[in-house]
């Protein structure tokens, strides 16, 4: 580290192997990664006890940069891989980092089933409204009318509300924030990781180079300004007149309930069978 002021987060980075990272200038992925690291740092969890698992996508490149037990798996399959790790080593904290496509397109089934199972995994979804890595095809989270390379005339497809989907599937902790709201993100991730059960944090993010250019959104600062101006907290939205609610990004924790966790229930079963013997 030599001449660089040691920031707390440097401890967590594979800084002398993999930096500067591969993301485009202004891409939110780095901000989200920072928020995750800071949350873990505050929680004082040992790096050895953390597994970070991802699928495939720009966002899914995160694990390679951090000094945890890291797994860069298959497109859409981060959650089952994470399930295997968590199920065999329940003491570990397992964090999945994934994109909107990775988690809700090809990975949608695993997402809803992990939510149903209420297994103690934290899923951080970097929702940049596009397939970044493959160059800008529409994702299930691309807004209506927006342009993508496979929706050249504007998107006619509907979008998932990721948080609604997670709640519908039975998730016990669900929150949304944006890359601009880095402190909020950090705190929400902290809560999610502490939560004993399946937790989801959707971070609305900027992909200035692909999505931003295709849709003339300006650079990263402009896109983040939009996050700031066009988002509102759960409390705030209630106070808004109906006609102003439309199109707002609602931030906040939608659900945070204590419910029996999968591994705990499994351990109970094992204990119970042992007793019977």
């Amino acid at each position: 580290m030599a001449k660089i002021p040691q920031k707390r987060i440097h401890k967590y980075l594979r800084h002398n192997k993999k930096f500067p990272h591969v993301w485009c200038p202004g891409c939110s992925n780095g901000i989200v990664l920072g928020a995750i690291i800071r949350a873990i740092d505050e929680l004082k969890i040992e790096r050895d006890d953390i597994a970070m698992v991802s699928g495939i996508g720009c966002s899914s490149r995160m694990p390679v940069y951090v000094d945890f037990n890291t797994l860069h798996s298959l497109h859409g399959r981060a959650i089952p891989f994470a399930t295997g790790i968590k199920f065999f080593k329940p003491h570990m904290k397992v964090i999945v980092v994934t994109g909107d496509g990775d988690s809700t397109a090809i990975g949608g089934n695993h997402f809803i089933h992990a939510a149903r199972r209420n297994i103690d995994i934290t899923v951080v979804i970097v929702n940049n409204n596009i397939y970044g890595m493959t160059g800008g095809q529409y994702s299930p989270c691309t807004p209506h009318d927006d342009v993508a390379t496979t929706m050249p005339y504007g998107n006619i497809d509907n979008t998932f509300d990721i948080c609604k989907l997670a709640i519908g599937a039975g998730a016990s902790f669900v929150g949304r924030t944006t890359a601009y709201h880095a402190i909020e993100a950090q705190q929400m991730i902290k809560k999610a990781v502490s939560h004993n059960g399946f937790s989801v944090v959707e971070v609305v993010s900027a992909c200035p180079v692909i999505y931003g250019r295709l849709n003339k959104k300006g650079g990263a600062p402009e896109m983040m300004t939009e996050m700031k101006e066009n988002s509102i907290t759960l409390k705030g939205i209630d106070k808004l007149p109906a006609d102003k609610k439309e199109g707002k990004i609602i931030r906040g924790i939608f659900i945070d309930e204590k419910r029996p966790e999968f591994n705990d229930k499994y351990q109970q079963l094992v204990d119970h069978l042992k007793e019977k013997k």
Binding site: M1, P20, G26, G30, I31, Y180, V209
Partner: protein, 98 residues
Amino acid sequence: MSEKIERHREGAIIKDDLPEKMEVEINEVNTSGDYKESPVYIYYTWCKKCGICVEFCPTHCLGSKPDGSPFVEHPEKCIHCETCDRLCPDFAITGAKR
């Protein structure tokens, strides 16, 4: 000029042949002030000139060089809020109190 996006492709984003740059002293350090003196330290080797720190520093303590890279324009204004830290996507700037 073509508006075509120069896509980067999957697998496109690995750089293995880079030297381990963290160990290297950087020229530009002086431009932004040495980190021992300056309240804010910018690590130019990692900085990608996205402009986020400049845009969102609440006290406008940062400025933009012609090539887009940030520098500490008004060191005195820094309140060590660490906004720049948190919003920098490249772990390239630090405004924490030392």
